[in-house]
Subunit: 387 residues, 2 copies
């Protein structure tokens, strides 16, 4: 039995709505993961996240492993307890941050050796260790250790890298199965859906079709609970990203959840949902909020669905611009978030200009609501056969 | 009729409990004013402030006058509407910030001329203008324009300064009366208590008894709605502060509210309440929170009252210290605030160490609760004849 259930497939596109079953609850797909890098979505509380409609969050293994450390999180009886979040948590493998943040990293068959960016201490992250760490955190959805190739990437390197990623994926799968057996978690549960901790494979292969297809087919054999598409949104042209996505998605099993890592802009999310992606994570709503860049739907439903088709369905508001100085309207008069219900653009601008910390919080609340509202609308449109 | 009602006077000290009636509601005295410098108590929302037990806040006229400017606040129909706070607001006159922040300020009989620290533009702040600005903000409790002398301050300067402050106070009083008449606000209302906007005088005179007494008696003639003690907590020894307070309080009318500006530490608040002070404002709880310094009651009521007598009733927690790294207890197991109810010391430390903005918010919530809880306990003790 699968942990994923599709409730309806679109007839107009490859989009689908469904539910992903985790041990901390069901998450309606397609969904967006707010990012809680160090076990906190910057400026907001778990209660606020829930109010905003977030059903699942992502935390970064690398950061949490270094600080507060696994021993502290163990003592707290897991990350959920530590950070006061009762919903599901997806953890990355830590690999991405090792490659982007750590110093003097060396990749070999065994894993990746690095000096961390906090203490300079030496570490070895192996596929097995990546799984163990995520298990200790109490992750609901774990990711395999992979190498995310940069863009551009020579084909020779991409080939070597993706082959290593596949071998690592296999070792992750083995370690995961070992832990499941040890913890007496059967995959053939008596329930129609399983709700245990899950492990996702990650398709790599840069922008090379044969590598991408090989990566996908190799991973499928390992029978993961879901498949992520990695190595995208790393600087390649958007058209190329969509092309790669088409290759990969056509070869992934339809009945497993698909996760597009690190994406993205609202129109990219819409496009990827239409291609059959079920999960997204991105720092855009939260990071841009802290840089005073806010999102607003241009047109409200039901006209919204028309607009979604041509990517003109939203606008960006740079709230620090002088034109908002005495604009007493809410950011978005149609938005139901706390910020739009209670504050004017003029007040938001004033807080940003004065460096007031409440600015970041009110902006984060609004932007997260925009992204979560977008996912909600997409689910409704798919259900109603309109996407 | 007065805007102030004393419900009970202590027999053991000069402490009293009562209520201050403003046009945005009654505030139980003695009370503490959280500081919303630019129209926002840093990191927290008005709803959170109310949950924490805050009934009134203080905003800084100088900051708001410069940014967003009076025209913006006028367009928002006042500061309450602009910042989404429905309770009373006390505004300072702007004088203190002119003296501490502005460049090349010149004091003369007319007022104070300065170049602001944002645009460098030249301004003239007169007593009349200070009142007009506060009226435009929609202040519930206005303060007269005064000169807050530094410590130490030569007597010759203190004398000249306090005499000017008195002449300015008179002009503020006249302007205030003019605005009241224009706005048809009668002081002899048919209600038992008045609930209009109020004006407080500020007693100055540095550490010189004759100057302090003269300042007080000159202001009393002007019949203000309340009296503040200014020019304290500016670097003088605490014993000297208490001495000055004794001089001033013995000469102020008993039936008017007394406000000790810029104070202070928890034990100073307790001491000043016992001397008959009804109002306090200080950045300590909010600013220290942002610097990871947290407050905790040592002993819970009812033993608390014993401890209050000898100033050992609380401790300071420097939450970034290594000893809290795996401390899974709440900051204060007896505290009812959101932070203590849901997070461990280890988590708070982790957020601070990682520079996570939620740290500042959770710490601010706790420290404000500590100060507001302290005021609550003091009111209860006075009512029960135990302070």
């Amino acid at each position: 039995m699968s942990n994923f259930r599709i409730n309806k497939k679109s007839k107009k596109s490859k989009a689908r709505v469904g539910g992903l079953y985790t041990k901390h609850g069901v998450v309606k797909t397609p969904f967006f993961l707010p990012i809680a890098t160090r076990g906190s979505v910057k400026t907001v509380t778990p209660e606020e996240l829930q109010d905003l409609g977030a059903e699942i969050i992502l935390t970064n293994t690398y950061h949490l492993y270094l600080r507060p450390s696994l021993s502290v999180i163990k003592k707290a009886r897991g990350l959920h307890q530590f950070m006061h979040w009762s919903g599901p948590i997806l953890t990355d493998s830590g690999g991405y941050q090792v490659f982007s943040l750590a110093k003097s990293r060396k990749i070999n068959e065994k894993g990746v050796e690095f000096h961390d960016n906090l203490s300079g201490q030496k570490h070895l992250l192996t596929p097995e260790k990546a799984i163990e760490i995520q298990k200790t955190l109490g992750s609901d959805i774990m990711m395999v250790l992979d190498e995310c190739t940069p863009y551009p990437c020579p084909k020779s390197y991409a080939k070597k890298s993706v082959e290593l990623t596949t071998r690592w994926a296999k070792r992750c799968r083995t370690k995961y199965q070992e832990l499941r057996t040890k913890n007496n978690v059967s995959r053939d549960s008596k329930f129609k859906v399983q709700s245990s901790w899950l492990l996702f494979g990650i398709v790599q292969g840069s922008v090379y079709k044969d590598l991408r297809l090989k990566s996908a087919s190799d991973l499928i054999i390992l029978d993961f609970d879901g498949y992520a598409v990695g190595g995208l949104a790393v600087g390649e042209p958007v058209a190329k990203m969509y092309e790669v996505l088409d290759w990969v998605l056509s070869s992934l099993p339809v009945d497993k959840p698909r996760y597009l890592m690190g994406v993205g802009k609202p129109e990219q999310i819409v496009e990827a949902v239409k291609k059959g992606i079920d999960m997204f994570d991105c720092v855009i709503p939260t990071r841009n909020a802290r840089h005073a860049l806010l999102y607003k739907f241009k047109i409200q439903s039901p006209k919204f669905k028309m607009e979604v088709q041509n990517s003109k369905f939203y606008e960006e508001i740079h709230i620090k611009q002088a034109k908002y100085a005495s604009d007493m309207r809410p950011l978005d008069p149609h938005c139901d978030c706390y910020t739009c219900q209670n504050y004017s653009r003029a007040y938001l601008r004033h807080l940003f200009m004065g460096g007031e910390p409440l600015a970041l919080r009110l902006a984060t609340i609004h932007n997260l609501r925009f992204f979560l509202q977008l996912m909600y609308r997409l689910r409704i449109f798919i259900k109603n056969g309109k996407l």
